[in-house]
Symmetry: C2
Subunit: 299 residues, 2 copies
């Protein structure tokens, strides 16, 4: 199985269009010190020819251009991307669907809840009926988005997308709105969980023994954004467990058997993004890789 991280940043990307925090500023002026990153997406393949795209980021056009394996390979119109899967309905995971048009057939998979929230927006009709099939998939039911590659979705603690938030919203609920994906091919297993509000016993059981885990690296501490002064939201409020601190993911997953641990969906305020920083050294010493665009794993 091959996994390519197309985009390793959280919503907004790095740099974020309107952000001048120290990390965004460095991403513009010192790209060797803070590598620019596009928004959250990966591609997975069992044969390096046909690919499953998981999450369609606003930066998808640039991401496909930057990765020659994702270029069309034959005829006048073609894409190696045969299927697309969404793990939630956040803008950083669905806006790219507006680019995946132009008469290219593929199947879009998501839970009923996520699919309904997309379908309610007519602008997504650029994915024309009869060209793009929209397929609802149940939790805990293995399906094959590509021959030889299977996926099982499972709920993780999360929340509804920002654009669907209202006063009834519950943070940390395990519903259809935020899911993890267990991907299996050629006897290898990958867990992909770009958004997760809390590490639970159930989650640890799900992922025990995987060859690789790509996990929510939005914030280092719950109050990253408040420390930097760019916002008032905690990681928890945004539906993201911190790497460090009380209930941090690094400690919570330390005892679980996992082959390779990689953080993805990293927010521009997270100091692990700075090459050579003590925070980067700390998470690496704990056995984690800080994901970057183009990082490719052979499992």
């Amino acid at each position: 199985m091959r996994v390519v991280i197309l985009g390793s940043a959280a919503g907004g990307g790095l740099p974020q269009w309107n952000c001048r925090c120290p990390i965004c500023a460095m991403a513009r002026s010192e790209p060797d010190r803070v590598r620019p990153r596009t928004q959250s997406s990966i591609a997975v393949s069992a044969n390096e020819t046909d690919w499953l795209l998981i999450n369609a980021s606003p930066d998808i056009r640039q991401q496909l251009f930057d990765n020659p394996q994702m270029h069309p390979q034959e005829g006048l119109r073609h894409s190696p991307i045969r299927s697309v899967l969404l793990t939630n309905g956040d803008v950083d995971h669905v806006a790219g669907l507006l680019t995946l048009r132009e008469g290219q057939p593929y199947t879009l998979y998501a839970t009923r809840g996520i699919l309904d929230s997309v379908n309610a927006n007519r602008v997504f009709d650029v994915m024309a009926e009869g060209v793009v099939a929209r397929q609802a998939v149940a939790m805990d039911r293995r399906f094959e988005p590509l021959p030889g590659l299977s996926v099982t979705l499972f709920p993780v603690p999360g929340k509804v997308p920002l654009w669907l938030e209202d006063e009834t919203m519950e943070i940390g609920a395990e519903t259809e709105t935020t899911v993890g994906a267990l991907i299996e091919a050629n006897g290898r297993r990958l867990a992909y969980i770009p958004g997760c509000a809390r590490v639970t016993d159930g989650l640890r059981d799900r992922i025990a023994g995987v060859d690789a885990l790509l996990f929510d690296g939005t914030v280092l501490h719950d109050d990253d954004m408040i420390r930097v002064g760019v916002g008032t939201k905690t990681g928890w409020r945004m539906g993201h467990v911190p790497m460090r601190g009380a209930n941090g993911s690094i400690d919570a997953l330390a005892g679980t058997a996992i082959g390779r641990r990689v953080f993805v969906h990293i927010n521009n305020t997270n100091p692990v993004l700075v090459e050579g920083s003590p925070e980067r050294a700390d998470v690496e010493a704990a056995g984690w890789t800080v994901g970057h665009d183009g990082l490719s794993l052979a499992l």
Copy 2:
């Protein structure tokens, strides 16, 4: 007045994600011969500090990154983009609104018709109420999206966006769905018309005497896409007048007083995109510039 072309390509960009037509293939392998181009958008300023963005393309994040004048200039959160204007509701002009979020205040201007079609999609609620004001503007009424810079919208022959097409659609109608913009600042005048199905007498009268015209360069001939074999749609069917051929824009505008003539919104199938091609030479000999990303005009 300063005008910067942020994106000079039509919907899909150059290369388009799933296209291997000769021009898209060259954009990937021979960027000196076919310069890659992002999707349709310009920025206009009267003082080079505050900018009006006209059309928000899916590539907006990359466009703002590539143009240092569009970077945030002060404080922790900032953008030189103070106002945004839409000339139609096509995905290549509205998808970028999903990126212009993150609590950044600005005013979004469009006709009532265009604004209603955007508002009907809840996903655009990422432009939070109370942060982004959505302002409907009437045709033929001058308004000031920035101090010292005024805009007048006027209808041009067009059609509804692809995602709103139905059996009642009329091509070439002059309605609120496709507009041109006449922009004035410091005594200079710019006409911006990225989509137009036909050059009419009314249109010629509108733009006579402008210092610059940025005009719909989607197709060279009405049947560009059919010639290349990538589709069955004519320029007319897509709502775009060709540069050449019967009723082509070059001849139709030849007798109109216009300071600088620049084609924008150029589709990936248009042979004028090839540097040194006879088609490029032909339109240049006729007094037109083939727009490219980053082209900056001081009027």
